[in-house]
């Protein structure tokens, strides 16, 4: 068929070497905007850029062929105070099996290019021509308890419009240059930013966890007596003979 392109398959699937090379290339391209880059073996390429350079870096990447907009979102790196709303002891028992997990976490997240500030912005861009994808991140500094405003990339990728609105309502990030920064999912009068970790999840808060119940034990002081009684009856019934 004339309209479908052939079925030749690119044999790569983007090997790690290609990723390393790409990371180097992009680091060079973006210059001092890149704070760090990280290649996760067999997976992904992360680029962490300076938030001031967010717009410039995105433009440069678009011009370098990364013209396909994947998504834009944010992460709140603080821990939720309520955990999973389940019994804390039970939760801790699961987490406590290897104690070094928590210390590894902090190190790991920094290594992945993030987590130095509370909020982090991330976006995924593809390059259909190179069969490559890059995930760019930027730490969003806080000022007066609120995240500082970040540049909007809606003029580079039209598709970022709704993603930025979502990040705005969910995390309270403010995008400079966005023409219509309103709630997208939530009602206009909704207060709070649900995906921030300190936003309580009411559905879980109003109901006790049924798993907290435990089986009712026999009072220890009665245990011996009970055991004796049962045994006595058992023997009396002749089954013991």
């Amino acid at each position: 068929m004339a309209d479908g392109t052939g079925d030749e398959r690119p044999d790569d699937q983007m090997g790690d070497e290609a990723r390393e090379a790409l990371a180097a290339e992009l680091s060079e391209l973006l210059g001092d905007a890149v704070v760090e880059s990280h290649v996760e073996a067999g997976q992904n390429l992360w680029l962490r850029v300076d938030i001031e350079q967010w717009h410039a870096a995105t433009t440069a990447l678009r011009d370098a062929g990364f013209a396909y907009f994947g998504f834009l979102s944010a992460i709140d790196w603080t821990d939720a105070p309520e955990g999973r709303y389940e019994d804390t002891e039970f939760d801790a028992a699961g987490a406590g099996e290897d104690d070094d997990a928590s210390s590894a976490t902090a190190e790991e997240t920094v290594r992945r290019g993030g987590g130095e500030t509370r909020f982090q912005l991330l976006a995924q861009l593809h390059s259909p021509a190179r069969h490559a994808a890059v995930l760019i991140k930027a730490d969003v500094p806080e000022a007066d308890g609120a995240p500082a405003s970040v540049p909007s990339i809606i003029d580079i990728f039209s598709g970022a419009d709704w993603h930025e609105r979502e990040a705005h309502e969910m995390f309270g990030l403010v995008f400079n240059g966005h023409p219509n920064l309103e709630h997208i999912y939530l009602p206009t009068e909704f207060e709070g930013h649900p995906l921030r970790k300190d936003f309580p999840l009411l559905a879980r808060a109003v109901k006790p966890w049924p798993g907290v119940v435990d089986i009712e034990e026999i009072p220890p002081e009665l245990e011996a007596q009970l055991e004796a009684e049962v045994m006595a009856e058992f023997e009396a019934s002749g089954a013991g003979a």
Binding site: P210, V213, I218, Q225, L226, V230, F234
Partner: protein, 205 residues
């Protein structure tokens, strides 16, 4: 603007389907209209659709196997399983044995108004006490009636089908559904008849 072929082809498709629905029989009997066989719909209240054996219709409880270990309740994403239980002392199984400590289920409720039918509870159960049944006719006019207690859940055991055989090449073992009879309702009463005690005489209340 319209040319004939595409439009006529479409008419052909609908006409062909109508003929297939109306006259599904082959051979000499082609002329007998039998839309009941030709149609793909099931006339629900008159005839019942049979879901596949693995269909997740309703959860059945084999209470005898349940130890009130709370695993299902704790792994339920919707918090819709409520279990309460207590320990009793039961006589040894055979002479010379020690007195056993047995968990008795006092309450085992599943709130089907909340249940998302994910099957995690059935999967985590280490004692083969929960099973899926493809039964689906248990809607209720009142939402509160969707909370099935342990008796109701045990009744579903009768509808649990045998596990299916696997395709060749599989290394899975076919599990067995435990035998279930009318005696298996309320195993606590059976334990009691055997001489199990939950409180020492005189020490109660």
């Amino acid at each position: 603007m319209p040319q004939l072929p595409g439009l006529l082809k479409g008419l052909g498709v609908t006409a062909r389907t109508a003929m297939r629905t109306l006259f599904p029989k082959r051979g000499i009997r082609t002329l007998i209209p039998a839309p009941q066989q030709g149609s793909v719909t099931v006339q629900y209240p008159h005839e019942k659709e049979a879901p596949p054996d693995r269909a997740r219709g309703v959860i059945a409880l084999h209470e005898e196997n349940c130890t009130a270990c709370m695993l299902c309740s704790r792994s339920c994403p919707d918090w819709c399983i409520y279990i309460e239980g207590h320990k009793v002392k039961a006589p040894p199984r055979r002479a010379g044995g020690a007195v056993r400590s047995v968990n008795v289920v006092d309450r085992f409720d599943i709130d089907y108004a909340l249940c998302m039918y994910c099957g995690i509870c059935v999967e985590v159960c280490p004692f083969d006490a929960l099973f899926w049944s493809p039964e689906y006719e248990y809607s209720e006019p009142h939402i509160a009636d969707l909370l099935h207690d342990r008796i109701r859940l045990s009744e579903w055991m009768e509808t649990v089908p045998e596990f299916l055989d696997y395709e060749p090449g599989s290394e899975q073992k076919v599990r067995k559904v435990p035998e279930f009879g009318i005696d298996d309702f309320a195993p606590a009463r059976k334990l009691e008849a055997d001489g199990a005690r939950e409180l020492a005489s005189g020490a109660g209340s």
